[in-house]
Symmetry: D2
Subunit: 365 residues, 4 copies
């Protein structure tokens, strides 16, 4: 359980970081969507390790294969299996983890829950699992783009104490992708890269915040009461490794306003659409998208893997000092950007299908 | 869809604020749990309107009936129907809402999604829907208490800019319930009540933060990878009306630390249990509970219902000035406390059942 | 668990035969469907006890209330709660069952599974639970009729050894409802009523077969591979009390034919539609409806409640002779007819919504 | 949708007959179960084509790989990916199917539903999809054997009009596997093999019935009301290709008995267990297993693929005469035997986990 996400556009991921393969089965995809390996690979390349000096040097090409669900370049409506074989596996780097729990990793809890764990590189708890999510998210993005021109852009918004200035209405993919940090604020980016690099050199790590905006989202997505759109978005991104917080619209800062200040007044725009003058709601009201940009933020803790000695215990409970070798991401944020986009896309696509089912206009047609 | 929550301990809520009744069906409850109406009513009384000067004056007793699933004071293992009839319905207060969209309410999005809405008092989007959640949560709490002595305590942690000091390891139910704010910090409480009352008098509202700690949670709850415990907790509380943000453990503040500072070092305590010296993880590592207190925070926006004039549009799109009459909660926080507890209890109980299913020790037994 | 049926048009039933109430929550219903109590009551009246001399004399009006999900005579798209209070409860008739297991009832297995049971009248295992199904089925039928003119007719096809002749292409609701057996073959009906009545007089019971045809079913319903339409239909009717077998199309008899004889050849009819000359497939090929009438049959065992002495054991395991008093249905078939229709309608309606979600034509539109 | 089966022991199959691969992801498997490829391969070898003169001569080794979820020969509790690459693909045999609908196949309905299909060898509707089921069923069987000594045996019970005599209490795996038909009645087997072979030679096919008995099933499995054990078994086997009917216990024949004759009287056996003297209930009462052998039967139609000319239409609707080439199974029954066992095992294993979750005795412990 727990390895399937979504109701109608439903993905099941599998794979440990050092087992045979990782990947995903995508079920419920509509038929006749043009799709090929390049659609998927483009997103995986944004996620893969070894991209720059501020990500882990672990080199994996993460080359994907599509083994079912396609025919003549189109989806069949049947399950799509996307597979990435594991390659750069250095089990020896992890030998010490066979018997020792790394602080703030999943070693101890997996051992406690299952009585067994693949201690090579984090096993199922490795960020490598997100390959399946990003691959599936590429399909969800493509669907949303076709049906509504929806654009989903995540970006690094904060690194430690450095805050970027981002205009969620106008930020572009190019502004985000033109630097290794994936941050659309050039000034802050330069400082942040230096900051990350200096912590990398001392074998330490930093955290920060990834923001995300989804524009041109159809009105009406979200399913009261438990499957409110913000609730499903929260679950989606809080299931990513290292995430510690979630905000929609005004978030925690909005709690310092009064109702008078916080409410988004309605008006009718020139095209006759009902809009809100402000967007503290973050594009969602009553759990349902209102057509304004959906704006959310995700807190990511500093990477737990650091190359400094730390006090911990062995599986047998003995106190030891652990100094991991291996390779590490000094900051997960740049690689978290495509993960956040993928999770947001999966939620929106699933809710689009749900909306067609219940409210698709077929009843009265 | 969207009205069912949980996989194994599964609740389905129903009801509009001004329809015939609201309530819940609880499915999957283990058999032979002693249960009576008083267990449920005690929690509903903490949630009901009209408790104090800082909650809405709407008077509803919210008296519940249990119409199935019990026999001789014990659960049968069959669905438990808990029903609360609606009583203090003043549809006339809402007449204007029949054609006008209240800012930052769900009126406009429900109308857009469904092409129809019960405009009397918020309909399904009313906080009245949470009666079913709180009722079901009372059962979940009882189960957790019996199997593990788990104690779940929510409390008001911030009101607008007023921050309470709370010791999550020691805070007690009594400290929380001995004031109408449900805040364990007496000094801040006095100020906050005055603050809320002053905004109430001007027909305005304020928001804030509800914190929650779950102590004596069994180790091993949570299901990688999508159903990580923090992901399910995030979804649970972000499905509550007016919630805008979620944090687990160190949350957003934790992103300003380095990995060295943030990691929770392990040690073995005197009873031989593996513990962490700090708890920035918030009781969850790798999506699985580690036995430390689970600590989370939920941001609640200021109540959207205010009694001041606001610019908005009618359903037909005409600009109007709306001055709601009706009654309003100047601050949702005190009534949100039992709601947050209920949602946390539902998630933990569901995961407890899931854990028994997959890892209950029966395989090797 | 186990009390919810369907993925998108999803029902949850609740209630014991002698608890406070029985009923159903219907979630996922499309909005703006005209609906009132009479729509539901008409179907409940076909299911209720006390209709004729060949059903149980237990008198229950089974008057339903709709307590949520409706507004101004239309569905809101929110959960619909339909409730029927229990009335004619004679717990004293069942006193003996408190400690004794009735043969071929659910007493012993409920006790073994749950360690507790409501022994008054069968509790949750009572056919009274089907009230919720029939009520929900009335809504599903209404939807299918509106979107595709779908007509679902069940009928008694066999009583013990008496076989009716039924033309599935032409049989009408009137032919079925004009007699207390609900069998469209008048000759067989007269004999069968006498047969049932004679077994009733000796306190015995008989079984038989209910057939069902669904005409004007949209092409394309059914979801390979596990949710094939016939698989979901089989589950649906095999979840009815007393059912022991299921057939689709040619069923068991079809296994005596060769492939040459069994295959349904295709042709194009005058309207240009692709049809099959024969319908051994029963309207479903590859798990997907092909537009031909869906034809199925359900075997119902003779009612387990008989008023003759039978050897059995007490809960403590002592051998006793049990002679039930109470009231009994000498033959479940006439009342099973609306139950079968309801279950078939629920499956088709759910698959209609699923089909809109994945293949609704919105992708390319 | 539709490609996932089970709630807690949950499988997702993928793959077309002539795409890259077929297989399954198994989620929810308990950890620390010893498992290797040989456990899976043994069952796949019983299912694979080319076993004997009465199965299709298509030669596929169906060699499986396990690419995740295992570590040091034990399950991790994480998803298990089992993959079988497609090899003996002769797309040219199917060229004609690109534009022509084979009678009683899924060609026409897939085309109608999805607007696209992989016409090479049946695509997703091919029996090749069942590889994933059989592989997953091997794991379920292993679990059931360990926890309860449960033994699940399917066998050919009827071929066309030839009926086998089978003693469900005593039949053994050896008796079933010692002949190519997988029928424990030697006399009938000899005749049936000749019968099948003669139909094979004329390019025709035959159907029949597969029986199945599950012995030593734990008491208490099955979840009222919709997930009754017989309902889930019915769905499971009716989702197999070519199945047309299902019976549990007395089945259709039981409908000719009176209640007096049909009821299974209880007694206490020498070990003090409550048993039934007869087993017309088929091991299930009230939807819950009672510890008696679970006995069911599945009707399989004659294979739709025959090598004789048949009238049909092209995708464009033109009448044509089709004479398939390709290879065909003259009778699906011998290969259906492991499929039925797998589906029964999956249902029982899933219900075992569900039962542990709700009634596992942890509440009062």
């Amino acid at each position: 359980m727990g390895n399937t996400f979504g109701h109608l556009f439903r993905i099941t991921t599998f794979g440990e970081s050092h087992g045979g393969a990782v990947g995903v089965v995508v079920d419920g995809c509509p038929p006749r969507l043009p799709l090929d390996v390049a659609d998927i690979q483009a997103e995986l390349d944004r996620r893969r390790p070894g991209q720059s000096k501020i990500t882990t040097p672990r080199q994996e090409k993460d080359q994907c294969e599509i083994l079912s669900g396609l025919f003549d370049g189109q989806t069949l409506g049947t399950p799509i299996l996307i597979l990435v074989k594991n390659q750069d596996a250095r089990a020896q780097d992890y030998q010490e983890m066979a018997s020792t729990f790394r602080p703030s990793h999943a070693d101890a809890t997996y051992q406690a829950k299952y009585g067994i764990r693949n201690w090579q590189g984090g096993g199922r708890a490795s960020a490598r699992e997100t390959i399946g999510r990003v691959a599936a998210g590429a399909i969800a993005k493509k669907i949303l783009r076709r049906v509504a021109g929806t654009e989903i852009l995540a970006y690094v918004e904060r690194v430690k104490d450095l805050q970027a200035q981002v205009d969620v209405e106008r930020v572009t993919q190019d502004e985000i992708e033109n630097n290794i940090l994936r941050c659309p604020d050039p000034e802050m980016t330069a400082q942040a890269i230096d900051l990350i690099d200096s912590y990398r050199q001392e074998g330490n790590s930093v955290g920060g915040v990834v923001g995300c905006v989804a524009r041109s989202v159809p009105v009406g997505l979200g399913s009261p009461v438990f499957d409110k759109l913000e609730a499903d978005l929260a679950k989606a991104v809080m299931s990513l490794p290292a995430s510690k917080g979630f905000e929609i619209g005004s978030g925690f800062a909005g709690t310092t306003l009064t109702g008078r200040e916080h409410n988004d007044e309605f008006y009718r725009d020139e095209q006759g659409r009902i809009r809100t003058r402000t967007n503290r709601s973050g594009g969602i009201q009553g759990g349902i998208s209102n057509g304004e940009p959906i704006v959310l933020r995700v807190a990511f803790k500093p990477t737990a893997t650091i190359l400094q000695p730390q006090a911990t215990v062995t599986q047998a409970g003995e106190a030891v000092l652990l100094t991991p070798r291996g390779r590490h991401d000094p900051c997960v944020l740049p690689r978290a950007v495509p993960m956040v986009e993928a999770m947001v896309a999966l939620v929106l696509c699933d809710h689009w299908l749900q909306h067609q089912a219940q409210c698709g206009g077929w009843l009265m047609g």
